[in-house]
């Protein structure tokens, strides 16, 4: 038997843009997979020297430690405003934000809706895990009805907490958006589709076709208090019922 670990036998490699730093994400979290996809897409498009990312407040606040491109770290919810300015001032750059549901669909709703409605040539990657992960599992605007969190311990109910917000459906109605899609990364097939969506959104930014929103329905095994496998199953059984995966606007 010869050595099978040789360059001609390599079928998969970690993208170079993904640093060797240990990630702080919990086991089973979707962030790591989405980070990898972003790094792969930027590398495949050859945009390492033209990409500027805007990271949020939330679990992905340290995205700049993992993906080896220029980053600006935004105040909670303000990433689309920051990206708006960078893209308008540097029109040939790839400019994207990476935001969670608390950041994008709650405190930053105004910045999100208006950046998308102006048709800013930016891509927004939206991680929706229906919970505030970093602060320890509180209710998010996207928390499902009946779902238990630290701030709705008896389950979300309409009279107390209002309803979960489908901001991606809202975004699809806006004239400024050119591409709105909802994806997930719970299976290999889903990961491949999500990667294609991210690539489409990044191409739209570079070619100045308008705003793109890629929602990734995600897990938060720690916040949901489930094992990684249970979290994936729970997402398929509950999240996909309310947050239908697929393109909303192409």
């Amino acid at each position: 038997m010869g050595n099978i670990i040789s360059p001609e036998n390599i079928v998969y490699q970690k993208p170079k843009l993904l640093n060797d730093t240990d990630m702080h994400y919990c086991p089973g979290c979707s962030h790591g997979v989405v980070h990898k996809l972003i790094a792969e897409v930027i590398e495949e498009m050859g945009l390492e020297e033209k990409a500027v990312g805007v990271s949020p407040v939330g679990c992905a606040v340290f995205a700049y430690k993992y993906i080896d491109i220029d980053w600006q770290e935004a105040a909670h919810g303000r990433a689309p405003a920051i990206a708006t300015a960078i893209k308008r001032l540097w029109p040939d750059r790839l400019v994207f934000t990476y935001q969670g549901d608390g950041d994008l669909a709650c405190i930053g709703t105004a910045e999100t809706i208006h950046a998308l409605n102006r048709g800013e040539n930016i891509a927004i990657i939206f991680i929706n895990n229906a919970i505030y992960g970093m602060t320890g599992g509180q209710m998010a605007p996207t928390t499902l009805m009946g779902m238990k969190t630290a701030t709705c311990p008896y389950g979300r109910q309409a009279d107390l907490h209002g309803y979960p917000l489908k901001i991606t459906e809202l975004a699809a109605q806006l004239e400024g958006t050119c591409y709105v899609t909802r994806q997930s990364v719970h299976s290999v097939a889903a990961i491949r589709k999500a990667k294609r969506a991210i690539r489409q959104a990044f191409e739209n930014s570079v070619n100045r076709r308008g705003s793109s929103l890629v929602e990734i329905v995600s897990t938060c095994s720690s916040g949901w208090k489930k094992t990684p496998v249970e979290a994936n199953q729970w997402m398929e059984e509950h999240m996909f019922d309310f947050y239908h995966v697929g393109d909303l606007k192409v």
């Binding site: 491109i69 220029d70 935004a74 303000r78 405003a81 300015a85 105004a110």
Partner: protein
């Protein structure tokens, strides 16, 4: 009237002068939200359409919160960007200003003040002295604050603010008020200066998020650091920078202080009223001088301390309840009496009121 040097002499409002000066000094972008009494800045830019001439970006944002974050983003990418607002709008911006201070991002914020607190009034005020000089957001930081008293200074301070902001990587603020913003005066607009090229920006701002051209190590703009020791080091670095600015960038103007028995300290439009009062008092034989701080931070502490040894009393004249007077008292350290005169609610005091108050405060009897 256009001069050979490229300067142009025109009659215009202070707010309009800010807009024209921005276009002429190579500003890359303006992001703002309408609010009285400063909306002419965005309106003038919209009429002038600089995106067709100099390439300057002009965008009406969805809020002051968005505006300041656009400045944070634009400044973080090395561009000369500015916003403008009035008092309650600037209050909304404080989060973003703190982020800029923490991440050391240059940029210009123009505050054409109105009366407060809260929604207050649309009439002139200097009630934001604290908001401007104390760092209205969280944490230990300062913003470099310039206080124009004429339309000419409104124009001149735009380029000066950008130069200082980039020199020290600090947000700069022009603290104007409804009087200086709305009054029409003769102004000499500077000649056109081209916007910096990409190469010039990369040279001047090697820290900016421009994309890691040439495979350089990545640039990250952030104010976040979870390790206490590292965060302390960063804060000490900021404090060191503030010390340097205090040492080198104090600006003020003096008027008839050499033989003065009494000193008025006033900034912005209040200093113009004080000048009128001083010329009348001098006519009566009362030797009064004026010190006008041009930078409110850094404050001319040293000079006021010197003058406090010479004069019998200092009156701080502001269109507010008495804010700068605290800095004057800190400089004087009890060496001479310090009083304050001012009005609130959007009422601008007259020179006569100031004259009466000065005589009353220091027991000056009519000769």
């Amino acid at each position: 009237m256009m001069k050979e040097s490229g300067e142009e002499i025109v009659l215009m409002k202070g707010n309009e002068a800010i807009a024209h000066a921005a276009i002429r000094c190579g500003c890359d972008g303006y992001f703002g939200y309408p609010i009285t009494p400063q909306s002419e800045i965005l309106e003038t830019l919209a009429v002038e359409k600089p995106w067709e001439t100099t390439g300057m970006v002009v965008l009406q944002a969805e809020s002051e919160v968005a505006s300041i974050n656009m400045i944070y983003g634009g400044g973080g990418s090395g561009k000369r960007v500015m916003t403008s607002s009035s008092s309650p709008g600037v209050a909304l911006m404080q989060e973003g200003i703190a982020y800029m201070a923490g991440a050391e991002i240059p940029g210009l914020i123009v505050n054409v003040q109105r009366g407060g607190p809260g929604l207050g009034t649309i009439q002139p005020s200097q009630g934001d002295y604290f908001q401007a000089t104390r760092g209205g957001g969280n944490g230990d930081y300062y913003v470099l604050v310039l206080a124009p008293s004429t339309v000419q200074e409104m124009a001149d301070f735009v380029d000066l603010s950008f130069q200082l902001a980039f020199k020290y990587r600090i947000p700069a603020m022009i603290l104007s008020d409804g009087v200086v913003g709305q009054v029409m005066e003769k102004v000499v607009l500077p000649p056109f200066k081209p916007r910096r090229t990409e190469e010039e920006i990369l040279r001047e701002c090697p820290w900016a998020t421009t994309g890691r051209k040439g495979g350089r190590p990545i640039n990250v703009i952030t104010s976040l650091e979870l390790r206490p020791e590292a965060m302390e080091r960063h804060n000490l670095h900021l404090q060191e920078k503030y010390r340097t600015i205090r040492e080198h960038e104090v600006r003020y103007e003096e008027h008839l202080v050499d033989d003065a028995d009494y000193l008025i300290v006033a900034f912005g439009s209040a200093a113009r009223i004080a000048q009128k009062a001083i010329s009348e008092l001098r006519g009566e034989g009362v030797k009064v001088g004026l010190l006008r701080p041009i930078t409110l931070w850094p404050f001319p502490t040293k000079r006021i301390k010197e003058l406090s040894r010479q004069v019998k009393g200092i009156l701080t004249f502001e269109i507010n309840a008495g804010q700068m007077v605290e800095d004057v008292r800190l400089a004087v350290e009890g060496r001479t009496p310090v009083t304050h005169y001012g009005k609130m609610g959007g009422i601008v005091p007259t020179p006569d009121e100031l004259i009466d108050r000065l005589k009353e405060d220091f027991g000056i009897v009519e000769s």
